[in-house]
Amino acid sequence: MGYKTLIGLEIHVELMTKKKIFCNCKNEFGGEVNTHVCPVCLGLPGALPVMDKEALEFGIRAGIAFNSEIEKEVRTDRKNYFYPDLTKGYQISQADLPLCKGGHLDIEIEDGVKRINLERIHIEEDTGKQLHTEDGTSLLDFNRCGVPLIEIVTKPDINSAEEARLFLEKLRSTIKYIGISDVRMEEGSLRCDVNINVIHDEKKIKSRITEVKNLNSFRSAVKAIEYEEKRHKELLEKGENTDNETRRWDENLNETVIMRRKFGASDYRFANEGDLPAIKIEDTWLHEIKENLPELPHEKKVRFMVEYSLGHYEADVLTGSRELAAFFEEIYKHVNDSKLLSNWVMGDVLRRLKEEDMEIEALHVSPKDLADLILMVKDGKINNNTGKKVLRDMFESGKSPEIIVKEQGLIQISDEGALEEMVERILDANPQSIEDYKNGKDRAIGFLMGQIMKETKGKANPQMVNKMLLDKISLR
């Protein structure tokens, strides 16, 4: 069997609530340093936290979306440690009783669907940021102190870097769906730590768990996992083992580097957060949150498969984000041909997004314009190739397809008389091609078609021209 890799992820997600979790400061990324602060988030003596209901609701939304069991009574704990970006000497978090217990998320791998189980999801507050200057001093910005976070902890069910990537993609899209975070890794609103080791069942050996931090993108997570997988296996092969340690991913070196060894379990001396009394989650409230939750990705996917007769893969891609799915459904209202539509969206549109590395929201083309374009092609007003050209123009200029077609005179030539005259002329000028075709070289037709398209600047109706060419050659 060989080695098996066990990967567990710890993912921190900043919730985009209106205010911070325990005070009335604005929850906003950026801003002049130390301006979104108050006695509470600065941890001044005597200042007290009060739980923001929206943060709690966002946490519950995550729990529902990931199929977790929601705790009936929410308690918080103090996680005690000293660090300059931590204003109270403790972080308000949850120890024994997380907001959400268990849960799972399914990913599509080659063999089909794989379930990744979750350990827990809990809520906590974010800390400030330390900025190190060149002269060695440290500056502190407390704007981020008290921004609400959820921490999602998976079981070690992930067995490869690719699975980790699929899981993270799915997790990100689900969180975006339920509208609790903008999940931008580069802004730190999604942070991911990896716990990894490898085991060999026959040889009965396993490596010690390594924690990898400082992963700034899904790509670096994948690379770090691949790197560690290899490192763990190589050490075991040499009869050695890894240490229980925390490493960080170094983007420049393209490898993980040791940060610190772990000696036993770290002791955070968890204690009840008595300043925040237990909050009962009433069934009516839970029900209300469920009702108001948008359709979840897996629900939407199933509906797309049924309603639009799409395959697993197409449905999965098209429901990849709430916005993309909405884009698809909006066009469908006008086009009513899901096969045709999914070809256009999955092909040209997604390719464009990938090339430009942008989200569907940033696209200049409205669903209505794209629908109009698809219909023009379907109705034969322009041919398929022209359609693709027009779409590229639409991406650039944002103009409607009608205007582009009109401006550039791209209406398809379907006038039988005009085409016939042209076909005759081209055949007269290329006797060799006729000869070739008759000798079984099908390619010759393509050449002749190309000549006609050249002359019509691609506007000739290709089906008509094709038929005419074949008919006329057979008569010669």
Binding site: L44, P45, G46, M51
Partner: protein
């Protein structure tokens, strides 16, 4: 007329009748401060100018015929662990020697709203840890009844200031008896309200699940007035209750038919050498009986674990509550450091006093992995059992009577070096905090010329019962 010797409620009446002005009330107290503060040392900071400013504003309000708050014109002392905007708040520690808060505690806002005059910040045991005010970084406070003995603590400054007529009324904080015990030692009245009755926002926490802002007055009515002025729901304090706030009559209060419980455990748990104190208490119980109260002995079996439970929970909370004092953002920072760890360690080593360090160590131990379960978590369970005992008692009793402290106010330096003896003196007061109840200490007599206090304990949000009982008792004694 010597205004400062009046009761606060008398000052208020005369002010409303325009017999005296707010400025006159304040001046009278400032004169007392000038003559006795050198000896007593009740204050860490006296804020004469702002007090005078406020007193003038109150007088202007009166002149314009505007309505006045319940604390109008009354000079008030605040324990120096209550945050006052732009006015130094030290918690009697070197750590916060120069700390000037940028915000007011809710109780301070309430006092301002009710036209009270904040006269100064009073002395305390460092971070409210102690029972004698001897652990203060700013020197001892003397007991105005006898300068040779301690005023009690930790709110010793607030109690002494009221007893010495330096202020009319004052606020302290009570985590395990820190208002009731100094009230007892200084021969005045002190209330520890129900947990959730008075906002804790802006009060430096000692043990946040036990702390409550308490009130001092020279009689029951004064302490009640102080409570009226500061209690009420506060959205900034998650533990503040919608049931908070008090408004009841005192005049018709009586002891007749009052069902009183006497825990037998207290009879058995007495500290030795207190025969004379016991006599005073027994006489008080007889007086209650004569006045028609119904006395019954009850058992609260878990009271015998109260001290241990209290010291585990309170020190555990202390250790985390004081973590924010790390020398990074505000407060004392050492000059002797090179690494971050040294910055933390040396700042805290140099700025915290012995008692603070002792309790931080104990609490850190109680919360440490491997010890949590047998200490902290077990203590939380016992706490629930103690609460249940009280709940049962209050099913058919109105109040519980006991001593406030099993010992008399003691001479300086006599027990500060034996912490366990000091802790034992909290026997009667700590269970009240563990159960979140309300209680009041009021004078019931003297032994060897030193005051002895009685504690009346009531169920949660039953302030009316203890305060009315105390008022009725006070009337009879007079």
């Amino acid at each position: 007329m010597d205004i400062a010797k009046l009761k606060a409620w008398e000052m208020r009446e005369k002010l409303l009748k325009k017999e005296i002005s707010s400025t006159e009330i304040l001046k009278s107290h400032l004169e007392v401060i000038d003559s006795v503060e050198m000896d007593i040392n009740a204050f860490i900071t006296v804020d004469r100018e702002n007090a005078m400013e406020t007193a003038k504003l109150v007088d202007e309000k009166i002149a314009r015929g505007e309505s006045l708050g319940v604390l109008a014109g009354l000079p008030i002392g605040l324990k120096d662990n209550i945050m006052t905007k732009d006015l130094r708040t030290t918690c009697a520690s070197k750590m916060l020697e120069n700390f000037i808060p940028p915000f007011d505690a809710t109780v301070v806002r309430n006092i301002r709203r009710e036209d009270g005059i904040i006269l100064g910040k009073t002395n305390l045991d460092e971070f409210a840890m102690g029972g004698s005010t001897e652990t203060s970084y700013f020197g001892n406070t003397k007991n105005p009844k006898n300068l040779e003995v301690v005023p009690g603590g930790s709110s010793g400054g607030s109690a002494a200031a009221v007893a010495a007529n330096e202020v009319a009324i004052s606020l302290g904080s009570d985590t395990g008896g820190s208002v009731r015990q100094p009230a007892s030692y200084c021969g005045i009245v002190g209330i520890k309200p129900t947990y959730g009755m008075v906002s804790r926002y802006g009060v430096m926490p000692m043990s946040n699940s036990l702390d409550q802002v308490g009130q001092f007055g020279r009689d029951v009515r004064d302490a009640y007035l102080m409570l009226k002025g500061v209690s009420g729901f506060d959205p900034l304090d998650g533990t503040s209750s919608h049931k908070s706030g008090v408004n009841f009559e005192l005049e018709n209060a009586s002891l007749k038919g009052l069902k009183i419980a006497l825990p037998i455990e207290y009879r058995d748990l007495r500290v030795t050498g207190d025969e004379k104190i016991r006599e005073v208490f027994d006489n008080t119980v007889k007086l209650f009986e004569r006045e028609g109260a119904i006395i019954q002995y009850v058992s609260l079996p878990h009271l015998k674990y109260a001290l241990e439970t209290y010291y585990i929970i309170s020190t555990a909370e202390v250790s985390t509550n004081l973590s924010r004092l790390d020398g990074i953002r505000y407060g004392y920072r050492t000059e002797n450091y090179e690494t971050l760890d040294e910055l933390y360690t040396m700042s805290r080593t140099e700025a915290f006093g012995e008692e603070a360090k002792r309790r931080i160590m104990m609490g850190t131990y109680a919360l440490s992995a491997g010890y949590q379960d047998e200490h902290y978590k077990k203590a939380l369970k016992v706490r629930t059992l103690i609460k249940n005992d009280y709940d049962k008692t209050f099913e058919d009793h109105d109040v519980i009577l006991s001593l406030t402290s099993p010992i008399l106010p003691f001479p300086f330096d006599s027990i500060i070096n034996s912490p366990v003896d000091m802790y034992k003196a909290d026997l009667y007061t700590v269970p009240v905090n563990l159960a979140g109840l309300c209680a009041m200490s009021l004078p019931m007599g003297e032994v060897d010329g030193l005051p002895v206090g009685m504690q009346i304990t009531g169920n949660r949000f039953q302030e009316s019962k203890i305060i009315r009982a105390g008022y009725a008792f006070e009337k009879v004694v007079k």
